[in-house]
Symmetry: C3
Subunit: 337 residues, 3 copies
């Protein structure tokens, strides 16, 4: 178990220490659950009153707030509590699971695949013909990468993930467990007799930039032709669906269970709340925000926030939600049967 | 194929037999599809009229109902038809798929892992350093369990599931195929230049109690710090998302495609319908029920039933749904353009 | 890289060529992104104006439209642009990923399993006792098929998919990566003390017809008894949930993240939009259409289109959506506090 004095932690986050500098900290916990030897965070005023009764020995405190460390305890004032928390979590981060550089004897790697220096291919992985894995990248056990896909350097692919053929994945990406990249898009046309469906070939690929993160269980379909593309730094949560030929900009955020039908365009920095959905061929412009559970059926201008089903300007949707509470009375009052 | 006389079945469920006791039963089917040698169930009055035309040779009947077995057939009266059905299904349950105790030669188990007596590790499994698998637990083929995770006894983990490092899973759990437990929570902060996102380390774990069931494709993220926790006896359906630092009580039920954003608290016995969603940091108190497709954005008191988007008391939402049918006429009547 | 003259392509799609017949085409792209040597499509009038500035050397054109090929370029007139596109995509389709006929040495196939002629079992696959794999079917690496399941001929199962015991899969199916077929349905009854839940055995199976496609991450639960069934030619997109004892007809379509609770019946040719949901025990009759995000809580007659939550006739829901924009003003006008 890692252990630091609060003084060392204060130095690491560039904070101002008050109280006992010699306290030893072994971990981080929220204020109502923390016990002795744990550090907590007071980022907002409402948490101050919990500090007296908290078991924590020390707290990182937003410098705007006035918190007395109290007897035998310590506080560390910082300008940005979120940043400080990230820095502290880094201090306590355990080593990632073991996956030795090189090819595990229980992995199957095609003779024509290229594995970069320092890359690790775990037990049970399958790496197909012509695949390229960049320097320092890790495939945890039981990953499948099919023919001619190229993965950049320092990318981590967790167990159970399947990346099909001819995809491109950038550097410094994190692909979580059980993700599917490059499966066929969903396209059919009526059969000649009009009574069934014939598959439209999906011959495109998937191109994912650098620094992209894709959550467990999520799916990114390959293009019908050309590519489904995800820009640098975009972060995708769990169980997210991205249909064929979507184009995502840089630094987009898609929360859990969100979905894009086919040929959707997201500009840079678009944020989608949990379980929000965008209809096919719709464009959501840069910096737009889509509320949780929203269903977007038409284009969204840059920077706009939308909410509801069908999604509207969020202020309008909030007004509708407030008004609909009165709807039953209104109907009763006005409609006599 | 298993086979029992209806007399043996009647005895097994503690029922009262009428009609032919020697009928041989080979399986169970619903009343409109059952054929000779099959047993069916009549739990409600509306099914009685189907009994005459049913191909079934026998029926388990709720004792409140008056059903004549008829020529050459049989009925078994019971106090609790649901319980009797479960008992009968147990009688006919086939053996689970083969997975021999011990470590399959095609599994990779780290030398420092501990495998309990009677535990079975299937082909293609990977079990990392320091992992502990309890007595009598089964890992079906192609399961991945990473470093220092501890799984209790008599727990079954189905194929394709990935449990990351340092998680705790209790006894008598069932983790269905392709589940992901312990992937990173979804947390970022703006980069110093404000134009991108920096990952916040997710250094916590997942702690799952005893008797928990998790459906295929579902995801339980690890805590940012501390743990995401799931109480004893909680049952989770398919494709469910549980964000980081959620706390679920005992005997909760989450139906298919339901979701919890981060830091949600569910009290004991909370029931969530299909595709319902709870916003981050919301508390749903013990015994509350959340209707299908609901979107919960604020705390729910104990025992309350909510429905709709945003979720309200279910009676209020049903009133709104009934009233909104009149809304177009109302608007037409009142707004002249 | 494949390459065809536009003349050869015109012949392949049975079109009428205008302009330069010797142009060499190496791929397909949409009109605004296409570059030289690429072929594009003009299926609707609105795309004609993009043709002048398009980099494409040739276009497949709907014969109803009047498009001049212009200097050095070519057009191919066809009666059905969608059909022609599918034919062209077939011409350019690359070979599927390698998976040699026979059993890969790193696969584990039980001695009692039967593998048809020409079938391919990839590295890391597990095939259990009594399993039957039909002629010419392919299991890509890291597929799991458990005891006594039978898969037809010419069916493709992609990596990471898990098919549990005693399921039936037809011929010419495509099961995409990380699919789960045959996991237990979700059924519990209150424990005798009323304080917990007891699992109801799920002893049924899954029966999937011919020509069925199931998208990545989707789940088809096994029946409580009898079977969950999917009719011939039905197409299921990504992350779809199909509960126990559902019955789907022929040529149904379920778009991404759609869901069926238990015991739902879909008639032939039912179309479900993205993220639509059907409540348990509901019947949706043949040819009905369910809009995206809809929540269906009662039976839907044949051929009807429904939309909204709760789902209503789509015209009625569209009227409600249009009217609710006026609701805040209406309430303000009528309710004085």
């Amino acid at each position: 178990m890692k252990k630091y004095t609060i003084e060392a932690i204060s130095r690491a986050v560039g904070g101002k220490l008050s109280g006992n500098p010699t306290i030893e900290i072994t971990g981080v916990e929220e204020i109502s659950r923390a016990v002795k030897t744990q550090l907590t965070f007071i980022g907002q005023k409402k948490y101050i009153k919990l500090w007296d009764r908290s078991g924590a020995s020390a707290a990182i405190v937003n410098q705007r707030l006035d918190v007395d460390p109290g007897q035998g305890r310590a506080t560390v004032s910082v300008a940005d509590a979120d940043l400080a928390m990230a820095q502290v979590l880094n201090l306590f981060a355990p080593a990632p699971p073991a996956c030795e550089a090189g090819i595990h004897p229980a992995a199957v790697v095609d003779a024509t695949a290229s594995i970069g220096p320092g890359a690790a291919i775990g037990a049970g992985c399958y790496v197909g013909p012509g695949v390229v894995i960049g320097a320092g990248s890790t495939l945890y056990p039981n990953v499948t990468v099919l023919d001619h896909t190229r993965i950049g350097s320092q990318t981590v692919v967790w167990s159970g993930t399947v990346i099909r053929d001819r995809c491109l994945i950038g550097d410094h990406c994190i692909i979580h467990p059980n993700v599917t990249i490059g499966a066929d898009g969903f396209g059919y046309r009526p059969s000649p007799d009009g009574r069934g469906l014939v598959k439209i070939p999906q011959i495109g690929t998937v191109e994912i930039g650098n620094g992209v993160e894709i959550g467990p269980g999520s799916c990114v379909d390959r293009g019908k032709f050309s590519a489904t593309t995800i820009g640098d730094g975009t972060k995708i949560d769990n169980l997210v669906q991205i249909g064929h030929n979507c184009t995502l900009g840089r630094s987009c955020v898609m929360a859990g269970q969100a979905g894009l039908a086919g040929s959707v365009t997201l500009g840079d920095g678009v944020v989608m709340g949990g379980r929000s959905l965008v209809k096919d061929h719709v464009t959501v412009c840069a910096g737009a925000r889509i509320g949780g559970s929203a269903g977007v059926v038409s284009d969204v201008p840059a920077g706009k926030t939308v909410l509801g089903l069908p999604a509207e300007d969020h202020r309008q949707t909030l007004r509708i939600w407030a008004a609909q509470k009165h709807l039953p009375d209104l109907v009763k009052q006005l409609i006599r049967k």
